[in-house]
């Protein structure tokens, strides 16, 4: 993909900045987003409560949570469609809390794309530039550039209704990028597409960002696999609050709390009791139904997953009411007698084509594991020993979401 977008050098050529009479937008190049204790209320109900988050310049930050968690409200606060009751929103360090949306220098893609149905593709992409009274030749050049970037150059004379969902999605992205936004806001951009196209689009979005490394992206979704695939970091939200924040992989492997563990994917959660004093030699010992297990404590702290309100340490100190989280794929059939072992009865075996899913009944806890297809899968009712590495387990306090 040849692209002028990839080099953000032309950002400062001034042509794309709004007409002189508009309030200066946040600098187009290299802007992060910062939420500073933002509270939003809707009809008397708090939908976003004292929300603080720093989105770094050039990263993809996924805001993820169930519906009603406030993630879309947070995005709309950046766009300027909701006015916070308290707190400030900054783009590129500039306080834009009181700026109207058109002065913020953002690009936005919404769930149904909202391509203007009365304009051809090229006109749609040109919209933001025309609104800013950019010179005609520059508009033509940018439209060409952005359409090429998303692979839609040959469709520029079509009307949106003549395009498939995936194509509309690409045009919507090109339209948002044409104004060289400081930040790109994506509000559930893939949820209107069917599963297959969605996977392909996730790939394309990732490739797009590799070409535009300076673009800061705030990506709102309820789909954890999209978030895990795309985002550099993930912020998990619930009931209007930030529940956890961390690098995608770290957050998945070492979720700091139960909600995060369960929201980001399937999780086996074992209730355990603390056996050793906390954080001895980077590991600690716990016991589950009489079985001693060893857990590494390095994981979470080294990769920077953090919870809001209570830390892993807090959970650990409290001792009782702790859980150990082990992802299904981290469990494997035990060989020899080393390491952490759990033993249970096979409750179900499902062959799902590319893998086997086995559920064990382990002291009354359903333990789910996935593994490569087995030539001889275990029988139901058979005893099975499974093991996991200390690095693949995380200790979580029961009540570390801060509430609930």
């Amino acid at each position: 993909m040849s692209t002028g977008m990839a080099t953000r050098g032309i950002v400062t050529n001034g042509a794309v900045t709004p007409a002189p009479r508009s309030p200066a937008p946040a600098s187009a190049a290299g802007a992060g987003i910062s939420f500073d204790a933002v509270t939003v209320a809707y009809r008397g109900a708090i939908v976003l409560e004292s929300f603080s988050l720093e989105v770094r310049h050039g990263e993809i930050m996924a805001l993820i949570g169930p519906s009603g968690s406030g993630k879309t409200t947070a995005l709309r606060a950046v766009a300027g469609f909701v006015r916070p009751l308290r707190g400030r929103v900054r783009i590129g360090g500039v306080d834009c809390t009181d700026q109207p949306p058109y002065a913020r220098g953002i690009g936005m893609v919404v769930q149904n794309y909202a391509l203007f149905p009365h304009m051809r593709v090229a006109r749609n992409v040109a919209f933001g530039l025309r609104a800013r009274k950019a010179p005609r030749d520059l508009i033509a050049q940018r439209v060409e550039e952005c359409l090429r970037l998303v692979g839609m150059a040959e469709f520029k004379n079509r009307y949106p209704r003549e395009l498939s969902g995936g194509q509309q999605q690409r045009v919507a992205i090109a339209r948002a990028l044409a104004v060289k936004p400081a930040v790109l806001l994506l509000d559930e951009p893939l949820s209107a597409l069917d599963a297959q196209i969605r996977r392909a689009m996730v790939e394309e979005l990732a490739a797009l960002h590799r070409n535009l490394p300076d673009l800061t992206v705030l990506y709102v979704t309820h789909d954890q696999s999209e978030a895990l695939t795309l985002a550099d970091r993930i912020a998990v939200m619930r009931d209007g609050r930030l529940v956890s924040l961390g690098a995608s992989q770290a957050l998945y492997r070492h979720p700091p709390n139960r909600f995060t563990a369960e929201f980001l994917g399937r999780a086996n959660l074992l209730p355990v009791r603390l056996e050793s004093s906390p954080v001895a030699n980077g590991h600690l010992d716990v016991s589950f139904a009489g079985t001693r297990l060893r857990i590494s404590t390095d994981g979470a702290s080294t990769v920077g997953a953090s919870t809001v309100g209570a830390s892993t340490d807090g959970a650990v100190r409290s001792g009782n009411g702790s859980l150990v989280c082990i992802r299904p794929h981290a469990l494997h059939l035990a060989e020899g007698d080393s390491g952490n072992r759990l033993s249970g009865t096979v409750a179900s075996v499902q062959w799902q084509g590319d893998h086997h899913a086995i559920t064990l009944d382990c002291h009354g806890i359903a333990l789910r594991m996935v593994m490569k297809p087995l030539r001889e899968p275990p029988e139901r009712g058979a005893r099975l020993d499974v093991a996991f590495s200390p690095d693949d387990a995380t200790l979580i306090g029961e009540g570390t979401e801060g509430h609930g």
Partner: protein, 290 residues
């Protein structure tokens, strides 16, 4: 804690909602101010003192009472007729379709855009004493006098209004019928239900909201109808709008005209409230009266 709602930042609103002032002012001066003056004249009789005497005097007249009764009679009967005719036509167009059914529906729909007196005029050519029907009957059977003379009675007005206002029932009804799945009717048929049962148990319930909305709209429009009554010009058939015209323009009695107008407007607004409520109930925020 919960003081302020999410304020959608509508940058087009200077001090929130100032843009609404000009149209409200225009409507106020050109519509509500005249209405208020009608009400005042009805109460004052052009003098200074307000009293109900003028109104009471007008309401005691036989002419007013007859006009009020005719207005209600014509409106109720016409609306009932519209519902019946509209239902039958919609039923056939939707469920016993023939090539061109869609064009027929559009043809009937254009009557909404045509002046109402058109039908009254046509009726005088068809059913009038020198009209086609009477001419044919007199020629064929040797009648001395025109045998068909309903046109110059309440029935003539009712029939013309049924014709004119049926499209207002037909339009929502066709829309409602198009929502019924063919499969539903086919399944009912396969289960042994005859056409009447299907109409009663599937089609009628599905069309009920549209019938209610269309019917209440017809009530409002027929109470307000003026052109048809004026054109047919039957001596005995006077309605409230016609009486207002008669008092003001023919007799120059503005106070009586204003009293009658106030009552007419009150009746209309009551029916309009009914119509809005029906619409709100059955869902579907219809745009205005059409």
């Amino acid at each position: 804690m919960a003081e302020v709602a999410v304020v959608p930042l509508r940058a087009s609103a200077p001090p929130a909602g100032a843009w609404i002032v000009p149209p409200v002012l225009i409507l106020g001066v050109l519509f509500f101010y005249p209405l208020a003056l009608i009400a005042r004249q009805a109460l004052s009789g052009g003098g200074e003192q307000l009293s109900l005497d003028h109104a009471a005097a007008v309401m005691r007249t036989n002419l007013f009472q007859v006009a009020l009764w005719h207005t209600i009679e014509i409106a109720v009967a016409s609306s009932a007729g519209c519902l019946l005719l509209g239902f039958v036509i919609a039923l056939i167009l939707s469920f016993v379709p023939f090539p061109g059914a869609r064009e027929v529906a559009r043809f009937i729909d254009t009557f909404i855009a045509l002046p109402t007196f058109l039908m009254a005029l046509a009726f005088t050519f068809i059913y009038g004493s020198a009209g086609v029907v009477n001419g044919a009957l007199m020629e064929a059977f040797g009648y001395e006098l025109p045998p068909v003379d309903f046109l110059y009675s309440v029935w003539g007005v009712i029939l013309a209004e049924v014709t004119v206002y049926t499209p207002f029932v037909l339009r929502p009804l066709l829309a409602a019928f198009s929502q019924i799945e063919t499969a539903q009717i086919e399944v009912a048929g396969s289960l042994g239900a005859g056409p009447w049962r299907i109409v009663l148990e599937i089609i009628l319930p599905a069309g009920l909201p549209a019938l209610l909305a269309g019917g209440s709209l017809c009530l409002l429009l027929t109470v307000n109808e003026f052109g048809i009554v004026l054109f047919i010009g039957a001596k005995g058939v006077i309605t409230l709008p016609l009486l207002v015209y008669d008092k003001a323009i023919q007799q120059g009695d503005y106070t009586a005209a204003c009293v009658i107008a106030v009552i007419n407007i009150a009746l209309s607004l009551t029916l309009y409230t009914l119509y809005r409520n029906v619409l709100a109930r059955v869902g579907g925020r219809n745009a205005g009266v059409v």
